[in-house]
Amino acid sequence: MSFIRLEPRGQASKTMVYATPLLAVALTLLSGFILFLAMGFDPLKALYSFFVAPVTSVRGLGELVVKATPLVLCAVGLAIGFRANVWNIGAEGQLTLGAITGGGLALAFYGEGGWWLLPLMVIGGAIGGAVWAAVPAYLRLRFNASEILTSLMLNYVALLLLNYLVHGPYRDPDGFAFPESRLFEADAVLPILWSGTRVHLGALFALAAVAGGWLLIARTFIGFQIKVIGLTPAAAGYAGFDQKRIVWLTLLLSGALAGIAGMGEIAGPIGQVTASISPGYGYTAIIVAFLGRLHPVGILLAALLMALSFIGGEAAQIAMGLPKAITGVFQGMLLFFLLASDVLIRYRVRFGVRRAAA
């Protein structure tokens, strides 16, 4: 009988399930206000330069879409897996592999490209990500190894592989030994959709992933099986749903989407293979998936918000000299408040020692 107790509320209300992400955003803003105040900045000005100023220009809005694109691609795939209790934490590594394979194709056909090169790079990127995700799938089904650990560890392997490649085989022969590849030819670069910005064709891939993800979850029998396996594995066994198949499917799918995201980065805003292609999109996508309630449309909104925290962080660094860590602080606070309000919609807090008799 501790002093603070959590009592189950019975049924969580549907409204609250969708209201809590908004509540979490509001609390994050409030905490940011207090934080800036404590650091001696004008809080309103700081919040303005973080959250509003970046999107007051066409260029800024474009950057928002550019950053949201890989987040959406990764998070839709992750969410489908999370719904089936398949915890792929390795989107970052799968994204990196997609960049390696997609970029490898661009470099291999350097100078002899054509219209077919981009589709080939998309397929190559998807396969690269899927192969990287197949490793944890195999280890889980063959040795019962937790995919949380294996997929996470493979992120570092992927990063080291990328480092090796840009220092070796991928290095620009005329690049004065800088660890980066040649700039891609026009045939290997995704076309710009919105002139004056860097918004590229990948944004349409992201929208397609949202639509396809929704269709899969809400309308197909595979989506129903994913739902049942996630909620009640025993009932899925009873119904005869093949759980191994679902593990393969969700991991390969999320790997492929992350791979396309990685390919989209090097063939889009970056335009070459470098040692740093992602500021942690694969990790942030985990937050995006939960913030969006594992629903593709929610993920779209959540990705825009998290993209804002990336560019807001950059803007605040430039405008006010705030440290780079501010981006991580805001992302962390957002996830914290979301999880905390999730607990509170399912439980109510009671203070004081329980009375002996009611």
Partner: protein, 525 residues
């Protein structure tokens, strides 16, 4: 324990426990509505009611697990409140729960010491356990580890734990649901001795014949209210059931079995091995179920029922493909989906969490197994309109009380959910239906409806296999009965040629022994 009841007539004493106007409200439901109950010293008092009538709530308030919103409780004539179970034990109230709370890896003495508020030194406690268990005929070795004990022996541990505290009121919740008839008879002797010594026993059970044999008084709850009190010895099981339901009970008639048809399920030399040390391996199980008949498999839980169900449903695949033959096709290597395609339908023992997904709606739960034999999926897409229509058909056809196809499975009572699941399987027109514990924890009205549905299915030419612990149910339903014990299956006997006593002996493991009608042999069990 001095025997007051012998020396004083009960009327001279205040009641052991009196409840006046006890009311308890949960969100959205009035669980107990001004309940009055009087328990005299030395009486065995039955508490009757269908599922959800409020029996558990009432008993939990007496034992201090829950607290009433209003009403008074008088203990031996003095007003009292029971703050928690420890307080109840201090007053002299003991309770034996339906589900035991014992640690498998500890000894009997250690387990009992954990549950006592003042256990004392272990060797003294072992002596007291031996003394009490001998006095009440509850054979028990204090030094044994609990994982060696049978279910009946585990229950004895719980009872002895209560008796060590000299209870004046002992509450027993469904105590015989896990016992063989002989073990139950032994328990009744103990309870009668206790009552004769003045201990009051509050007895909760669905088994009405038991209550008629054991109890001198019965209070009937319906929808949270006391609707009557009676002397069960003056009633029939049927009249008691009707008091509980508030409606007339229709008992299904089992038609004489016609000529048995072709074998729809054949099990040959089925043996299993499991990595789980607590699983029961099946050992050379053989049987067949023919078109038009119902085969019952009796047995106390934990004798291999779960393993047999998994081997039949396809949830556990078999190395020997010919061990399970469905409709003439070897199916041991096939998963549930392929077996359903051969004509198998399946009702598992756990209805919430295996037979149905608690958080999903009834139409989604209709799809759960309905996809196999109904056109609910087309080109990989779910046909939601058809799934809804199928759920509505089940709800109407099997009188499922629910708020339409959108209701979540967990919002249904046990009986209604079971009607829904059985309906979902039967409406797929299976050639073979395997059912585990069809009416476990289901009230009399729903149980009668489920029994009728199973009999009708068999009459229409399907083969039905019922695996149950409830012998009364198996005798109502089955054409033939077999018994599962320690993973072995006895030969089947035609139901009309055997008796509850004989099957009870087989459930205690006396395979191959000529059945002895007087039940003396059970002491060896």
């Amino acid at each position: 324990m001095p025997s007051h009841a012998e020396t004083f007539p009960p009327v001279a004493l205040p009641p052991r426990l009196e409840l006046r106007g006890i009311t308890k409200r949960f969100p959205g439901c009035l669980a107990n509505d001004h309940v009055d109950l009087v328990l005299q010293p030395g009486e065995i008092h039955a508490l009757l009611g269908e599922n959800g009538a409020g029996k558990s709530t009432l008993v939990k308030m007496i034992y201090g697990v829950l607290h009433p919103d209003s009403g008074t409780m008088l203990w031996q004539g003095a007003e009292t409140t029971v703050p928690d179970p420890a307080g109840a034990r201090r007053l002299g109230i003991g309770m034996v729960f339906q589900h035991f709370s014992l640690f498998d890896t500890l000894t009997v003495t250690e387990n009992i010491a954990l549950g006592l508020d003042n256990a004392g030194p272990m060797d003294q406690l072992a002596g007291r356990i031996r003394e009490v268990s001998e006095r009440y005929g509850l054979a028990l070795d204090p030094g044994r580890h609990v994982f060696h004990l049978s279910v009946g022996e585990r229950q004895r541990v719980e009872i002895v734990r209560c008796l060590l505290q000299d209870p004046k009121l002992l509450i027993m919740d469904e105590p015989t649901s896990v016992l063989t008839p002989q073990e139950a008879a032994k328990l009744f002797e103990t309870l009668r001795v206790l009552a004769a010594e003045g201990c009051t026993i509050l007895y909760i059970s669905h088994k009405l014949e038991e209550i008629r044999a054991l109890c001198s008084r019965a209070t009937v709850l319906r929808a949270g209210k006391v609707v009557g009190a009676t002397d069960p010895r003056q009633e029939t099981a049927r009249s008691l059931a009707e008091m509980m339901m508030g409606a007339e009970l229709s008992t299904p008639e089992r038609p004489p079995q016609g000529a048995a048809g072709a074998a729809r399920l054949t099990v040959r030399h089925l043996s299993t091995t499991s990595d789980n040390p607590f699983a029961t391996n099946l050992k050379d199980v053989n049987f067949e179920v023919r078109a038009g008949e119902i085969l019952g498999i009796a047995g106390v839980a934990g004798n291999g029922q779960a393993e047999l169900m998994a081997a039949l449903s396809g949830e556990a695949l078999l190395a020997d493909t010919g061990a399970v033959v469905i409709e003439g096709r070897s199916a041991g290597h096939l998963g549930p989906r392929a077996r359903r395609a051969l004509g198998l339908a399946f009702v598992p023992e756990e209805r919430l969490g295996r037979g149905a997904v608690p958080e999903l709606s009834l139409s989604e739960n209709a799809l759960l197994s309905g996809y196999a034999r109904k056109p609910l999926v087309r080109g990989g897409m779910v046909h939601f309109a058809r799934a809804r229509a199928y759920a509505e058909t089940i709800i109407r056809g099997f009188n499922v009380v629910a708020h339409g196809h959108r209701a979540e499975a967990r919002s249904l009572s046990g009986g209604n959910l079971q009607k829904f699941i059985i309906g979902r399987e039967i409406l797929q027109k299976p050639k073979l239906l395997v059912v585990g514990q069809p009416t476990w924890g289901v009230d009399a009205g729903a149980a009668a409806a489920i029994h009728k549905a199973l009999i009708d299915l068999a009459r229409s030419g399907a083969a039905v296999l019922v695996i149950s612990q409830d012998l009364d149910e198996l005798f109502v339903l089955s054409d033939r009965i077999s018994v599962l014990f320690h993973g072995r299956l006895s030969d089947s006997r035609p139901t009309h040629e055997t008796t509850v006593e004989r099957i009870g002996l087989l459930m205690g493991g006396l395979f191959g022994t000529p059945p002895d009608e007087d039940g003396e042999i059970t002491r060896a069990v």
